[in-house]
Symmetry: C2
């Protein structure tokens, strides 16, 4: 990441990056299922066994790509948010949602890798959690600012959920009311439900004008967390 100590370490980082680049290319072209270590090695002019010096297994390569994908998506969300910084919170919410959708449409296989079925054995390593949180943090930031400025409409939470709601608010979104924490979390999952359905073909024959449909649905999500359109 910083200055490499020796020429050796530098070369290692370059090769590692080259492997990831080529793997990303194959991922984008064919999908995770067809990503082959041997093909990556072949394309890089090295023998397949050499690649195992850099990634001990195919799953490790995939994990690296997953983290990069989360970061790429998170950056897209943050950029969109920064670009809309002057707009009202509800508008910024929609802008971020649209950025997520746009990124997903532009990188379908990467999106499938991170929000589709978990491809490797089963559990994503905990390394993936921080980059995965970036989109959520942007959304939380919007809601928090709106709350601090003028408060939010709150949807009451049933008594049976109140303790969990308080825990969620305290641990994940300190400073926000527990009802909002619950609504936020639900909206976050629902956002990716909308994106996933569009991307994975579930809207085929159902929604035609998907962009407008999404914009409206994202606005409704904003409404659900208590944001109001001016």
């Amino acid at each position: 990441m910083t200055t490499p100590q020796g020429a050796r370490a530098r070369a290692r980082m370059e090769v590692t990056a080259a492997i990831k680049d080529e793997a990303r290319r194959q991922l984008a072209a064919e999908g995770a299922a067809k990503l082959s270590l041997r093909a990556v090695a072949r394309e890089l002019g090295m023998v397949s066994s050499a690649l195992y010096r850099y990634f001990p297994s195919r799953d490790d390569l995939l994990t690296a790509l997953i983290i990069d994908a989360y970061d790429s998506l998170g950056e897209a969300a943050e950029t969109a948010h920064a670009a809309a910084v002057d707009a009202a919170p509800a508008q910024r919410w929609v802008a971020v949602c649209e950025a997520v959708r746009g990124w997903a449409l532009a990188h379908p296989h990467e999106y499938a890798l991170i929000y589709g079925s978990p491809v490797p054995g089963y559990s994503a390593p905990d390394t993936t959690i921080p980059p995965a949180a970036r989109v959520a943090l942007v959304l939380i930031g919007i809601v928090r600012e709106a709350f601090d400025r003028r408060g939010l409409a709150r949807t009451p939470v049933p008594a049976e959920l109140a303790p969990e709601a308080r825990r969620m608010a305290a641990e994940l979104m300190p400073g926000l009311p527990s009802e909002v924490a619950v609504a936020m979390t639900a909206a976050w999952a629902q956002l990716f439900g909308l994106v996933g359905f569009e991307l994975f073909g579930q809207f085929k024959g159902v929604v035609e004008d998907r962009e407008r449909f999404f914009r409206h649905a994202a606005a409704q999500l904003a409404h659900g967390v208590g944001l109001v359109f001016p």
Copy 2:
């Protein structure tokens, strides 16, 4: 499906069923990625090439499993709906949502197969569309009945979405107002966003009391389509 004409046709159906059963077992145990034709054949005591008489490719076997999974999920939804037939529409809505979640938790790999990333090349054949619609039809039925009985709260749709909303209502849910059609479709996608996030580990470290959280979120979805709790 009906009476088999000859002993041959009968045998063929039995073998086909046995292949699907064994494949389903392997799918449930290891996931779609590790489902292997050769392993299925081995387990059935036949040679791998013989299996190609029944399914021309691995993708065809997967497609058959996909259809079965959609039907199984649809049946779970229909059963839950039938069991709650005396309850108010909003309650039935939640019951169906909970049935979807329950089925998904009980059949994670099958759920991943149908609502996760599309595993084969890319596009699911159109054969999968009717079974895939069963859950949606149950939900539409609930909403339609509620609408016919007492009407529904409607969330206005922006002008830019109005034509698409009308088209969706006319083609997919005749008799329902276009605003409701839009809200229904969004809720449908959002439901699977909630289920998918829980199933694919996105709620790890975020939501602990997932059952209660889901019940509340499902109730909010019902609210979003205009259903009211008595």
